[in-house]
Point group: C2
Chain length 341, copies 2
């Protein structure tokens, strides 16, 4: 039996992550030194699709560890509206697998022209986005043949964490980053078959998270759409109670990403409330009355845990796609590189 | 026949908007003067639910007109993670109808303690959020009995535009704000019955926009969930092509919010592409091959146009809710004031 490109690329994640950490040490150090020099009051992120979820992940990590606010700027501000932003003492981090979407490249160029310190995270160090930026962290993840990004998503987010650990010279996060390849390997062994059984025919679902886990919820919802034809939507476990829970009727599937951090009791509380509404709730951390607990890799740094969940999710969703009759490598209507303005 | 609270509150929008502009002139001037004094390098927004869509609206407006980057900060950063952010020369705008959700109040207090200039936009000038902020723009929209916010959403966004116009002393936007009540009145007369016919039994849909129109797409998607039990999800008209279009199969309903601004050709291009995939596409601006054009109020300031669309949408969605068998005033599982941490 031939396995899909997606399955092969997910299985490669521990090795790709280890290679990135090994080969990109100097690039990470140089970019971190530039961040310490600049001491930014603001970090701007520029990205689309899965890469934008890596940017959201980084937003929470930077705000929680460095205390510097992070703004996601729509690339259209530069590419369509042509409005230069006042970027004073900002750092601008662009994330793109291909490094080629014209709107992203234009925004990085505009940010640099406006005085921002620009850093590109991309798979290809000769990509136009890398050339438009002062620093580049090349992922060196190898070709990604599956349209759905997996190994490049995880490596992009890990690159961001590695950069943050060096910028802040934070020993705990440094150790967590060094241990990431091993944790990713353990995540590949998790069994989430009860969730697969529930989602084998579902049409709609919610994926919930909080803090950095929210970014992984967003990524999971996108992958459900791309590979399984499932209309999954992500919400913060708080935000979902401000309106969206209205469509959560009996047996509505809810996948709640809980990790061991300060937000876990709140994720559990939301899981219990939606279970009480009759939803079929699956939860990866803590224990919620009425919800099914899925196995997880425990004892990790709270800024790494959600990324480890992403690895477990990727293996899971590739199998779910085939179970639902989809070829995970060829999502309808999509190509690998999407170029937008 | 008794009309719903929601219908009555939507019909009130022109009058409520005019009253806000009349009664809040001094508060807007004082807050604008404080913004000019502070000359912020960064604007932070803090909000949830519909109010967060008003904040997104304001993000695009501030970035496009003032050139100052805007970051949405998750209230959990203060309320759960208890991480003080470095807010240097920032202004922090909180938006909440009730002004009472503890996470929002805590974030405003933390921002003020960190040195940010804090401004509250809320319906109640004695709300805890107002008391935790240096300035307040009270909406004075009267009681909102419908759970789904309508008049307070529009007035919050208009308050933000009024503040921006005075802060930047921009004559065009000032004139647009003054003319808003009249434009809202014209929006109430628009007939979108072809869209209602298509959505009378739909289970899933996408709502698309770009720039400030994206914020209105997000608000529309939330209202479809709250009042119609319809799983509608919003995307930027660029972002939807980076993956989510995979679930757009034949006859999938797509509602594209186009307004007369620089992004319109790109919204039209996305509408055409999704129509070519077989989607049933409805569009409010421009002309797209294969899409149905809905009527709109034309000739408006590009920062006001999307908000005028929101008014037309609210009247439309209240009717759609009843057509789908829902009472628009009592969404399942929701209460008017949601308090989260």
């Amino acid at each position: 039996m031939t396995i899909s490109h997606m399955a092969a690329e997910v299985a490669e994640i521990p090795e790709v992550a280890a290679r990135f950490l090994d080969l990109s040490r100097d690039a990470v150090q140089a970019a971190a030194a530039a961040l310490r020099d600049r001491d930014p009051d603001l970090v701007i992120t520029v990205a689309r699709g899965s890469s934008d979820h890596a940017a959201t992940y980084l937003k929470y990590a930077v705000e929680l560890l460095a205390g510097v606010p992070v703004a996601s700027v729509g690339p259209s501000i530069a590419s369509i509206y042509r409005r230069p932003l006042r970027l004073g003492r900002a750092a601008c981090i662009g994330i793109s697998q291909s490094g080629r979407s014209p709107d992203i490249v234009e925004m990085m160029r505009a940010a640099g022209a406006g005085g921002a310190l620009t850093l590109a995270i991309t798979n290809f160090e000769d990509a136009p986005m890398a050339e438009a930026s002062a620093h580049c962290l090349p992922l060196r993840a190898g070709a990604e043949r599956s349209v759905a990004a997996t190994k490049t998503f995880v490596t992009s987010a890990l690159a961001g964490l590695a950069l943050l650990a060096e910028w802040q010279e934070d020993a705990d996060l440094r150790a967590a980053v060094a241990g990431a390849p091993d944790a990713f390997g353990r995540a590949l062994a998790l069994d989430w078959s009860p969730l697969a059984a529930r989602l084998s025919r579902a049409q709609s679902a919610y994926v919930l998270g909080r803090g950095p886990g929210f970014a992984i919820a967003a990524e999971a919802a996108l992958k459900f759409k791309e590979t399984c034809g499932l209309h999954a939507e992500s919400y913060s476990a708080a935000e979902v109670l401000h309106g969206p829970s209205a469509i959560v009727q009996a047996r509505f599937p809810v996948f709640a990403l809980g990790v061991e951090d300060a937000a876990l009791p709140h994720v559990v509380a939301t899981a219990e409330r939606l279970a009480a509404q009759g939803a079929d709730v699956f939860l990866t951390g803590g224990d919620a009355a009425g919800a099914m607990r899925l196995p997880s890799v425990d004892g990790l740094h709270p800024l790494l845990s959600p990324l480890v969940l992403a690895v477990a999710f990727y293996r899971f969703v590739e199998e779910l796609a085939r179970r639902r009759g989809f070829d995970p490598d060829t999502p309808p209507h999509l190509r690998k590189v999407t170029e937008t303005m």
